[in-house]
Amino acid sequence: MTQSFSVSRRRFLGATLAGAGAAALLPSAKLYAQTSIRMQLSWLHSVQFAGSYIAQDDGFWSDQGLDVALDAGGPNAPVEPPVVAGTALVGISAADYTAAAVENGAPFKILAVAMQKNPFVITSLPENPVNEPGDLEGKRIGMALANAPVLEALATLNDFDASAVEVVPTQYSAAPLLAGEVDCLLSWETDLPVAMAVQGVESQTMLMADFGYAVHSQTYIATEAAIAERRNEIVALLRGEAQGWDLYRADTAAAARRTVDRFPDQGLDLAVQELQAERQVPLMFSELTDAHGFGWFTDETVASNIETLALLGRKITPELWDRSILEEVHGA
């Protein structure tokens, strides 16, 4: 809200001053050449999107003539509709959700992959740990019933018997694990285990991505029409993202601190944000990104995504991914 207001005011001032022949007084010609776009985030503001905040605060976007508004997500705020409707130029989704949306008629492409490794983990307690997929047999796992295909995919990938795992439908909370109602939970590496650690409860996490579960997460999506018509803006947006996330990686504690300061009304806990910021790094950065840059993907990673997504019931082709924007960003 405030963002777009200040832009229009700046534009207005710029236009007026220019009209009065006082353009020379402006510190930079860029100021009135700003294009306003919106990016739809997939969750509430938190360190999960800290790279974007850095890009915004440090002017990585405004230097390129872009004024980006970051729209918060939430449990009842799907990402895909505003991107289809054009309210947001780019949205942050995940390969499985994007594939489902495309099956339902949305003309999306995946342009970049922030989370190279899917953040799904099996969280357990150290005295009764799940260290590898086979350990799940005979255990009770707490998760939403809707995620049953995820467990089945993991079983197929790792040759264990999914029917030997007792699924207990739970809400997304650590409470059932702490109460002993279940032996483990399906969660993200970066939320429930982090919250538990900050509350003083040690836990064990098994990253599903380390056992063949390849689903790109926190992916940048746009419609085919937007890619064709507003290509430069998307390139500039992702360039800023890449710069922001590189800075994030250099000092995650600072990124967490900046996030908490930037959103004083979100009720963010600094300790939680710091730990989350730290645990995000191995998911987001790899040898691949070191070699080619933030968000990179290859034919091989796409192929393994297609394989895992097929196990989840999604039939897709490599055409869902489009690396051309990222190639422009990283000058490849």
């Binding site: 009842n76 705020a77 895909e80 505003p82 309210t87 099956e103 339902n104 439908p169 809400q171 979100q266």
Partner: protein, 525 residues
């Protein structure tokens, strides 16, 4: 005429305070007993936590209250206009009421994301959901109030050669004021709930945002603090409107939970079925019209024919219907026991409190707190305490239904005609016989009125708890469909939920007419 029994409706203040203290003590005890389980935070911790973060909570309360206030204003304004229209055009009343009920029964879980896309960033969805949450109860209250005028007064207006408009403005509007106030009292907590759910669709700040963050961070103290804050706010608004009304109006606000079942029926000549069909036709046209005029993408804004294709004519229609039916049955298994348990508990407690008035000092604070805390903040807590699955959902439904029924039944029980009670007294009939032969028949109209009006509340409760806590049934199916872009399913579920709620309402109304024609024939025309 009416011998209101002060023991049941007006509670002695000191006892109430003692009751509240008992409840707080029990709460603190529960927290102490479950330390370490990350479940319950006691009142002392909660107060301490709020004091330490006073600025944060003050700002969040301000944001949520502002959305709720706008929604409250717009929703109630719409309600008053609709009610006036319904009075001026009696033939249209059946259709207006039907459309109003249908809109009220649209599930918040599905309307939230759609409103977010329609409005874009900002407070649009919060305000709209708050308005949608309040307008129906106010509409009903004002409608009853506008009709609560002696026919001779209207005759007087007519004999002076003035029309309906004058009657409405000069006579009926004044008669309806107390009824409007009672509608506003119910509306205030509902507006807060609507604003909170609106904040789940991608808001930047507010109590709803803090709730989500607290739950994600396993911050039990903050979760309980927000639920308590929202409950206190709701109670204060409810009491505040009553207080203002007391100073402005001479009479006490009447207790309105539903219009008398068949009042106004002679006003429109169409049969019930014809009114229903006309309402459905208009609803479909509106749906189509909005879709076409707004030019919203059919990717997420489905038209009636898209839903037809999805459920009837496509290749996967049978599979879609099967999925929808399975979830629907799962929801019904939680909804129906919860609904009937709520009705039973509400009526039962009302009877108990009439027999043993002393109990009310403990029972009422619990009842009020349970009802006032917004369901989106209490749903996850209740499920933690009472368990997942059908039982957890059923308990939450029962809580939503219980309180309006309790209040209505207390009121009904106290309205047994004085002469009848005097006769019972003079024959030394005793409490039980007085209860069975005089008070219970007097309670029935209020009980049924509440039973009808709580049908949409029960549906709201079960879908919210399924969405936020248990992950089963139609509530979860809506959330899942939205996240997988299966908007055909989302709109189908929405339609089924809204139509089922209206059908449930109609079924209760039918039963009501049958029962009241035997026990309270003066209520049925």
């Amino acid at each position: 005429m009416i011998r209101a029994s002060s023991a049941t409706v007006h509670f002695p203040g000191t006892r109430m305070v003692m009751g509240a203290v008992c409840v707080l003590a029990a709460w603190q005890g529960l927290a102490a007993a479950t330390t370490g389980a990350l479940l319950v935070a006691g009142p002392l911790e909660v107060i301490n936590h709020i004091a330490e973060n006073a600025g944060l909570y003050a700002r969040a309360v301000g944001v949520t209250l502002s959305s709720a206030a706008w929604g409250f204003l717009l929703g109630n304004l719409a309600a008053v206009v609709l009610a006036a229209l319904a009075i001026l055009r009696p033939r249209a009343q059946g259709v207006i009421s039907g459309l109003a009920l249908l809109t009220f029964c649209l599930p918040l879980v599905a309307t939230g994301p759609i409103l977010r896309v329609v409005f874009g960033p900002g407070e649009g969805p919060q305000i709209t959901l708050a308005a949608l949450a309040v307008y129906y109860t106010t509409y009903i209250s004002v409608l009853v109030g506008l009709r609560a005028v002696p026919a001779t007064w209207l005759d007087l207006v007519t004999s002076y050669g003035r029309g309906r408009g004058t009657a409405l403005w000069r006579v009926q509007a004044y008669a309806a004021l107390p009824y409007l106030v009672s509608g506003l009292q119910i509306a205030a907590p509902a507006a807060i709930l609507g604003a909170l759910v609106g904040e789940f669709t991608g808001a930047e700040r507010g109590l709803g945002v803090l709730t989500l963050q607290a739950m994600r961070d396993l911050d039990v103290t903050a979760t309980w603090a927000i639920a308590s804050l929202a409950a206190v706010l709701s109670i204060m608004l409810h009491a505040g409107i009553g207080w203002i009304a007391n100073r402005v109006l001479n009479e006490e606000p009447p207790l309105i939970l539903a219009p008398p079942v068949a009042r106004g029926k002679p006003n429109y000549s169409r049969s019930g079925a014809a009114t229903g069909a006309l309402t459905a036709l208009i609803a479909l046209s509106l749906w189509w019209g909005i879709a076409e005029i707004s030019q919203l993408s059919s990717f997420f804004f489905k038209r009636p024919d898209d839903v037809w294709v999805f459920l009837v004519s496509s290749d996967t229609a049978a599979q879609n219907r099967a999925e929808l039916t399975a979830s629907g049955l799962e929801t019904a298994r939680a909804l129906l026991p919860g609904y009937f348990a709520g009705l039973g508990a509400g009526a039962g407690l009302a009877i108990l409190l009439t027999l043993v008035p002393g109990l009310s000092s403990v029972a009422m604070p619990i009842a009020i707190a349970l009802r006032a805390a917004p369901i989106v903040t209490t749903a996850p807590l209740l499920v933690l305490v009472v368990g997942r699955g059908a039982v957890g959902s059923a308990v939450l439904v029962a809580v939503m239904v219980f309180f309006p029924v309790l209040i209505a039944c207390l009121h009904g029980l106290s309205r047994a005609p004085g002469q009848v009670l005097d006769v019972m007294d003079s024959y030394a009939a005793g409490r039980w016989r007085t209860l069975i032969y005089a008070r219970l028949p007097a309670m029935l109209p209020a009980f049924f009125g509440a039973a009808r009006m709580t049908v949409p509340a029960a549906v709201l409760a079960v879908t919210v708890v399924e969405w936020l806590a248990t992950g089963r049934g139609l509530g979860a199916l809506m959330a899942l469909s939205a996240s997988l872009s299966n908007y055909g399913m989302l709109w189908s579920v929405t339609l089924v939920v809204a139509v089922s709620a209206v059908a449930g309402y109609a079924a209760v109304a039918r039963l009501e007419r049958a029962v009241l024609s035997v026990f309270a024939s003066e209520q049925v025309q």
